[in-house]
């Protein structure tokens, strides 16, 4: 062929391809606009609406499981310690002297909290994913009976009351407390707690049980958040008092103090309403302790130091004399040792004003913190031998339990439960997630705002977009895989960007997370399933939920009027992740917002992520349409009666 022929062929080919490309582009734009109903959209990749399946999600795939230690219980003779291993569905009995596992028991449903009866003959296990409490004979080390309780029980305490023995169980997702008779197991009462009851401890005389609640109940998103310390009469199963932990939350542990009529609750003093212009001096958050008497009079004291923080305090144990307490800080890999005599002495000499302001004086902890014991990765739970001489610290993310001699405060060794899982990038990523060392003065970890990768229920003001502007509701990371872009304005295309250098500048105020750790972190985040996925997925719907599903997928009103495509719920909140990952204007721009276009959040687990909307102004799902709906821009709801709205909410709760 002549040279000119080749040119012609090439030209024809180029023009053909160009035409094909242009045609494809034009068709895809038409396709997106037609099926979304939105004229403002241009080219959008296919996988916003297609090619997405649950099976492809990282969290839906098999992953390695690790013998990570959760709750522990020490036998009355101090010779054995029982350890719950929630990720492998086991409870193990270990010998304190040899520090070896001597017996294993399979307990399905993620055993998480443990309690022994007075004689050490029965071990009670709170199974977080099984929604039940199991009673194990310690002699035969087998399950004797079980009982259903509320949703996601994570903590359990045994106590002896005037009315008989009781078990008090914190049901963290149903926000209530199960009070049980222990033998045979029988639920006597189920009073309401605060939001996410997470830890229980009973006074030695059984007159009161303290339940620490992790989160604050949503109120006005500009209100100071207060989580709750619930005081309960375990004999009758009645709430005695609900006391506020002022401007504090993430209360994940509580211990009654023998001989003092106290309880102590580690907490995080959060300052979310203050624009995050800096991090120093506890600007964003600091760790502290709530000391409550039996009537619920609370004083808050700092756990942190002025230039050093001990992030994510959770487990606490107090010795039988009431003189020493041990508080695990999972983000700092430290157990703080407290001298309660000195703490009491300071409180006795301080007037009311000094006590009120104590929590903000980070120099105070030197008065009563005896020592800071370094531990392995992510200490969450602690337990003491009955004589107080041996402390057990669950080093959750290295599959060990540290054993400490409390007289010398020196480690004696470890109970090794597994290999630490460092060949697993998910495990490595979780270690990054829970490590406060990457933030300025170790003030907080990722987990500090996203406990268990979930929400803390608060709104924050990041100063980068203007002080006082664009308040942002904390979003859950559970089920976040495949839902990019990230941030409410959709600015960050991937998790790596979300958690990368920009995040370091805006929040961490230190060097960015190193690339290899960042990679592991994103693997971990992608591995988090939506809340309660296994309990919810593929369950049959009740009639109300099915009616709600029809409302959600409706293309016209019951009167036959078509609903504009762009306002049909399922178009923006497209299954299976219930997001099309596009920005939309739904009429929710506030007076201090600089945009009205917000990323469409995924709805998997939405029932557990209150409050709602980009700034957290909607306390409940109902309020999305009863108060914050504007001209049917957030779906067409003006035709709905209360039945239909209730049904829609019931359906959303199934996701």
């Amino acid at each position: 062929m002549k040279k000119s022929g080749y040119v012609v062929v090439a030209l024809v080919a180029v023009l053909s391809l160009g035409g094909l490309g242009l045609g494809s582009y034009s068709w895809s734009v038409w396709h997106v606009r037609r099926w979304s109903g939105r004229r403002d959209l241009n080219f959008v990749t296919c996988n916003h609406c297609h090619l997405v399946s649950i099976e492809k999600m990282p969290w839906a795939k098999q992953r390695p499981h690790h013998p990570a230690a959760a709750g522990m219980a020490v036998s009355p003779d101090g010779k054995k310690v029982y350890i719950a291993l929630d990720d492998v569905d086991q409870v193990v009995e270990t010998d304190v002297i040899s520090r070896k596992v001597v017996r294993r028991l399979t307990v399905e449903g993620a055993p998480f909290g443990l309690a022994l009866d007075s004689h050490g003959e029965r071990l009670y296990v709170a199974c977080r994913d099984g929604d039940r409490v199991v009673a194990v004979s310690t002699r035969e080390f087998k399950v004797e009976e079980s009982i259903g309780v509320g949703e996601a029980p994570v903590a359990i305490a045994f106590c002896h009351t005037k009315a008989g023995d009781r078990l008090v169980v914190a049901n963290s997702i149903s926000d209530n407390i199960s009070v049980l008779a222990p033998a045979p197991l029988k639920e006597l009462a189920r009073p309401q707690a605060g939001r996410e009851p997470y830890s229980v401890s009973a006074a030695p005389d059984g007159s009161v049980a303290f339940v620490a609640n992790r989160l604050a109940v949503p109120q006005n998103y500009l209100a100071v958040p207060n989580s709750e310390l619930t005081l309960l009469d375990p004999a009758r199963g009645r709430v005695l008092a609900r006391k506020s932990l002022q401007s504090a939350h993430l209360a994940e542990g509580v211990a009654a103090v023998p001989g003092r009529s106290w309880s102590i609750t580690p907490l995080v003093k959060v300052r979310n309403l203050v624009p995050i212009t800096q991090v120093a001096n506890g600007w964003v958050m600091s760790s502290g302790l709530a000391i409550s008497d039996y009537q619920g009079n609370i004083r808050q004291m700092p756990l942190d130091e002025a230039q050093d923080y001990f992030a994510d305090p959770s487990g606490i144990a107090v010795d039988a004399t009431g003189k020493r307490a041990y508080v695990a800080s999972g983000g700092a890999d430290v157990v703080s040792v407290l001298d309660l005599d000195r703490l009491a002495a300071w409180l006795a000499q301080a007037d009311e004003a000094a006590q009120r302001e104590a929590i903000d004086d980070l120099s105070l902890s030197a008065e009563y913190v005896l020592a800071r014991l370094p531990t392995g990765r992510n200490p969450r739970h602690v337990a003491l031998s009955p004589d107080g001489r041996t402390l057990f610290v669950a080093e959750r993310l290295q599959d060990t339990v540290l054993v400490v001699d409390t007289t010398t405060l020196k480690p004696m060794g470890r109970i090794v439960l597994g290999d630490g899982g460092l060949t697993d990038p998910i495990r490595r990523g979780e270690r990054v997630f829970t490590l406060a060392a990457r933030t300025f003065q170790h003030q907080f970890s990722c987990r500090s705002c996203h406990p268990d990768g979930h929400v803390d229920g608060l709104s924050y003001d990041f100063d980068g977009d203007g002080i006082g502007d664009n308040m942002l509701d904390n979003r859950s990371l559970q089920g976040v895989a495949g839902t990019e872009p990230f941030k409410w304005i959709g600015k960050n295309p991937t998790l790596a960007v979300q958690c990368g250098p920009r995040f370091a500048r805006v929040l961490m105020r230190t060097d960015p997370i190193p690339p290899d750790e960042l990679k592991d972190l994103t693997v971990f985040l992608n591995s988090l399933p939506p809340p309660r996925w296994e309990r919810k997925h593929n369950r049959p719907l009740t009639p109300a939920q099915e009616r709600g599903r029809q409302v959600f997928f409706a293309t016209m009103t019951p009167a036959g009027k078509p609903i504009p495509r762009e306002r049909q719920c399922h178009v923006c909140h497209r299954p299976p992740l219930y997001t099309n990952r596009l920005l939309s204007a739904v009429g929710t721009k506030g007076p201090r917002d600089t945009t009205d276009m917000f990323d469409t959040p995924h709805l998997l687990g939405v029932a557990h992520t209150a409050p709602y909307l980009h700034d957290g102004r909607a306390k409940t799902l109902e309020e999305l349409w009863t108060i914050y709906q504007t001209n049917d821009l957030h779906g067409v709801s003006s035709y709905m009666n209360k039945h239909q709205l209730n049904d829609l909410v019931e359906y959303l709760k199934t996701l």
Partner: protein, 368 residues
């Protein structure tokens, strides 16, 4: 100001002087009243509801807040404490947890451990903010509202609504609600009584067979009227208050009463409380107490004096005066136990102190 009560006294004349003990009436008779009002710290003269909990604490719902009596003093909860609205219409205690639930003009509230959490029609599945009646049955809180009955499952957090769309209701204006042994009874304004079986999901309506608004054409044939203003149930007996008389249903037979023709003090009945088979009925003219045979009526005379009528079957009416009287004759709420009776009135709170009851000797004791 409360309603003034004007009673025309006709012969036989009211007996003045030392009240002789009433020995033959088979239920407690009040010998005197203690009254509480603004001078005692109750912020409003109008008291809508009264309840004594299993722990002995007295709660009252007023026009201006929810109050609890502690160590002889009233402590108030208002909107500033989280109460959804200051006008409290109804109260009930959850017997298992001790929580007190209060219905108001703008939402339902739970008082637990000294803290109030509220449910409104905008932030929850409550059908309507005007909550006239509330009760607890199993694990569910039932609220009678101006737009249907709402049921909140305390374990699951799920709401259900029953109204004219899905239940046998003439209209959704629900004025009262009461959990019975196997049923929920809903008092519907203009709809009579709805009997709901929550386990089967069925409804049965009890309507006035006369179909006449003002008259009980045929007594004892069914509910006396469809305008149910309150109802209660105890041990198999359902009592219905209407604005046109009173009804009683024992599961088989109905019994109706109207003023003038029966000992019922007034047709305009507002509230009924049943304790050990005795109905205490509040209305615009005072209180009637009955076991369906004997009646004791408490009135307020034109001079504010206390008047008592004792109706014995087949005997003339005995009329007495009392040294004290109800705070007001318009009675909106009642609580009675073995020890005392409390009355929420349009002008204050009254406590009725029982006269000592004669010990009734059993046959076995007599033989001994």
């Amino acid at each position: 100001m409360g309603l003034s009560c004007f009673v025309v006294v006709s012969s036989p004349a009211w007996v003045r002087g030392v009240e002789a003990p009433v020995k033959d009436v088979p239920f407690p008779v009040i010998e005197r009243f203690e009254n509480f009002g603004e001078k005692d710290g109750i912020p409003s003269h109008k008291v809508h509801a009264v309840l004594k909990t299993s722990e002995g604490k007295l709660w009252i719902g007023t026009y201006d807040g929810l109050l609890v009596r502690e160590a002889g003093k009233f402590r108030r909860f208002g909107p500033e404490d989280g109460l959804s609205h200051k006008l409290v219409l109804c109260l009930v205690e959850d017997p298992r947890t001790g929580d007190v639930w209060a219905g108001t003009m703008r939402g339902l509230n739970k008082v637990s451990g000294g803290k109030i959490s509220k449910y409104t029609q905008t932030d929850s599945g409550l059908p309507n903010n005007v909550v006239y009646g509330v009760d607890i049955f199993d694990d569910t809180v039932w609220a009678a509202t101006a737009a249907g009955t709402g049921a909140l499952n305390l374990k699951t957090g799920a709401w259900k609504i029953y109204d004219h769309n899905n239940a046998q209701m003439h209209e959704p204006w629900c004025y009262a609600i009461k959990g019975a042994k196997d049923f929920i009874y809903i008092g519907v304004w203009g709809g009579g009584i709805i009997e709901h079986d929550p386990r089967k999901g069925t409804f049965k309506a009890y309507r006035d067979p006369d179909g006449d608004f003002h008259y009980d054409l045929i007594p004892d044939d069914g509910p006396i009227n469809d305008i149910t203003s309150w109802l209660t149930w105890e041990d198999g007996v359902l009592w219905q208050c209407t604005y046109f008389g009173m009804s009683r249903y024992d599961g088989k037979n109905w019994k109706t009463w109207v003023q003038d023709k029966t000992p019922l003090l007034s047709n305009f009945t507002q509230f009924v409380w049943s304790h050990k088979g005795i109905a205490w009925i509040g209305m615009d003219k005072g209180v009637s107490v009955t076991d369906a045979n004997y009646w004791v009526n408490y009135l307020v005379g034109d001079k504010g004096d206390g008047l008592v009528e004792i109706h014995r079957p087949g005997q003339p009416i005995e009329k007495r005066t009392m040294s004290t009287a109800l705070a007001n004759c318009f009675v909106l709420g009642i609580y009675v136990d073995d020890d005392e009776a409390w009355f929420a009135t349009s002008n204050g709170l009254s406590r009725g102190i029982f006269a000592p009851q004669p010990k009734r000797t059993t046959v076995a004791e007599a033989k001994q």
